[in-house]
């Protein structure tokens, strides 16, 4: 068995960073990353991007050296992806924030609505229901992050957390301020509107959860395989017949429900911004499904059946 030699150059400066001799032919990129870290401890594997071409695509961790189009002396180009943080940490901070921030407004802690209202409680029952729904939504998300989701990428760049937290926390504060305001105006059509909204909200929460479970079952623990998701026995997952990312469809529905329930313009705006962002993600996912699977169901659209 012949050994390979691997040299790693900086993708920008072309400086030689590392030379590995006697690399097993069946070594994976992940193993090479580990070897590289030994000489450059500041670049832990998740920070590294290795490519065959300085401007090309990053090699996958599970790519095997001898299957790559390289000679016995392979040249890889390295790019630093910047400080990384695990997805789980990001999601937990993103979601714990809104949960707590909303509750601060709900309990009307001092310095928000004036001393007269400190720790008072709203006379409108919808305000209490909204608090339950909002908390339920984020607790569900937190629990799903911990126990349901399987992440295909371990980490993301650290700066994302600042961006995402500003978005989630800022919107949560803006919405909570008005919903829990002493001068809050309850929905125009009263109980009927609240009930309808609650049904939409709960239906979509259940749907969203069902999709997350279905996606989890699609990917066995520890693996990175990708498959086409199909409807299961659970009727909520039948939306997979029509859209590629029904989890986003249900998420959008939840927020529309919450907006109808509270009749609060900031909630509607949050739904709109979320919708735009989720459409972008869903289109990307849809495109990668189409690219990866030739037999991908043609009826599906990214997020809204037949439309988007």
């Amino acid at each position: 068995m012949k050994h390979y030699e691997v040299e790693i150059l900086d993708a920008k400066t072309r400086d030689k960073l590392c030379f590995l001799d006697k690399v097993e032919p069946n070594a994976t990129i992940a193993e090479i990353k580990n070897l590289f870290t030994k000489s450059h401890p500041q670049w832990y594997p998740a920070r590294q991007s290795l490519r065959l071409d300085p401007k090309g695509k990053s090699l996958k961790d599970e790519d095997v050296l001898q299957n790559l189009p390289v000679g016995t002396t392979a040249t890889l180009y390295f790019r630093d992806l910047g400080a990384q943080i695990s997805w789980v940490t990001v999601f937990l901070t993103e979601y714990a924030g809104p949960l707590l921030i909303y509750l601060l407004f709900y309990f009307r802690v001092p310095f928000i609505y004036g001393p007269k209202y400190d720790f008072t409680s709203s006379k409108h029952s919808v305000v209490h229901l909204a608090c339950i729904c909002h908390s339920f939504h984020y607790i569900k998300r937190l629990l799903e992050t911990l126990f349901v989701h399987r992440f295909s990428h371990g980490t993301m760049p650290l700066r994302n957390i600042f961006k995402n937290c500003t978005y989630y926390w800022g919107f949560a504060a803006w919405m909570a301020y008005y919903i829990n305001h002493p001068l809050y105006t309850p929905p125009t059509y009263g109980d009927k509107q609240v009930k309808l909204a609650l049904i939409i909200f709960l239906f979509c929460q259940l749907g969203n959860f069902s999709i997350h479970i279905a996606l989890r079952n699609l990917r066995p623990a520890g693996s990175k395989t990708r498959k086409i998701p199909y409807p299961t026995k659970n009727p909520f997952t039948w939306l997979f017949l029509l859209v590629s990312c029904p989890n986003y469809t249900y998420e959008l529905g939840s927020w529309i429900g919450f907006a109808i329930m509270t009749q609060c313009l900031p909630v509607a705006l949050f739904s709109l911004v979320g919708f735009i962002q989720m459409t972008i993600w869903a289109k990307g996912k849809h495109r990668s499904y189409l690219k990866e699977f030739r037999d991908y169901p043609p009826l599906r659209s990214p997020i809204i059946p037949f439309l988007l």
Partner: protein
């Protein structure tokens, strides 16, 4: 920033070479439209300039000047919205965002400040930004027109890349002072503000919004000003080479 000096808001770029390359790709119809549009806008701002000069010479005061010219001003300034459309459809190769910000800041000054808050219409600061805008726009639109016609007189090019050194800060000063003068009236009348309780469960305070707008000039002004200075050096320096080649 409403001074619209930034190199993007109108019908053409700065370098002639770039312009020629662009026209080859641009259809005759689009070019004709842009030329017509820029001529109309130049004419419009010239009419404004003449109206303002005549008013001042006849009355000897600027009091009431805004009132007499407001219709023309609103008409032509609102028509600048088409510049954003030009960028959006791609017949002008500038960022929609940059042009959008500039045009909307002008529209904001005209409609949501000067038109809406009648008490400030006779302030000196209004006259200041009106004069600055008029000179800027006449230079800018005629620059685009001649550029599109491929006959750009040097003095127009010179004016476009030198006037702003004074006009830009002056315009900003005029705009800021006008908004500042409007603040007490905005507070008193509660114009454009939405208070709780209301059925949308949201509130908006135009007074604080205006303060944020004024504060946003601090980071934006130097950025655009230095960008223009850089543009100026590039264009007026490149000018010599282009002339020699011809």
């Amino acid at each position: 920033m409403a001074s619209s000096e930034e190199d993007g808001a109108g019908g053409g770029g700065s370098l002639e070479e770039k312009e020629k390359g662009r026209k080859r790709r641009l259809g005759a119809l689009a070019t004709a439209w842009l030329i017509g549009y820029n001529i109309a806008m130049t004419a419009g701002w010239l009419v404004l300039a003449i109206a303002m000069a005549r008013f001042y010479m006849q009355k000897g005061t600027y009091k009431g000047l805004y009132k007499t010219i407001q219709k023309t001003l609103k008409f032509f300034q609102t028509f600048a919205v088409l510049e954003v459309v030009h960028c959006a459809v791609g017949i002008v190769h500038t960022s929609v965002l940059v042009t959008g910000v500039q045009v909307s800041s002008r529209i904001f000054m005209v409609w949501f400040i000067t038109h809406s808050i009648k008490q400030i219409q006779n302030e000196e600061s209004v006259i200041l930004f009106l004069v600055v805008w008029t000179v800027t726009e006449i230079t800018r639109y005629s620059f685009y027109t001649f550029n599109l016609l491929n006959h750009l007189p040097y003095f127009i090019k010179w004016a476009r890349y030198n006037f702003f050194i004074i006009l830009y800060p002056a315009g900003v000063a005029g705009e800021l002072l006008t908004i500042y003068a409007a603040l007490p009236y905005v507070k008193k009348t509660g114009i454009f503000s939405l208070r709780l309780p209301n059925k949308y469960n949201v509130s908006f305070d135009y007074y604080y919004f205006l303060i944020i707008v004024m504060a946003s000039y601090i980071p934006l002004f130097p950025q655009l000003y230095f960008h223009m200075l850089w543009q100026r050096r590039k264009v007026l320096h490149g000018e010599v080479i282009v002339e020699k080649d011809d």
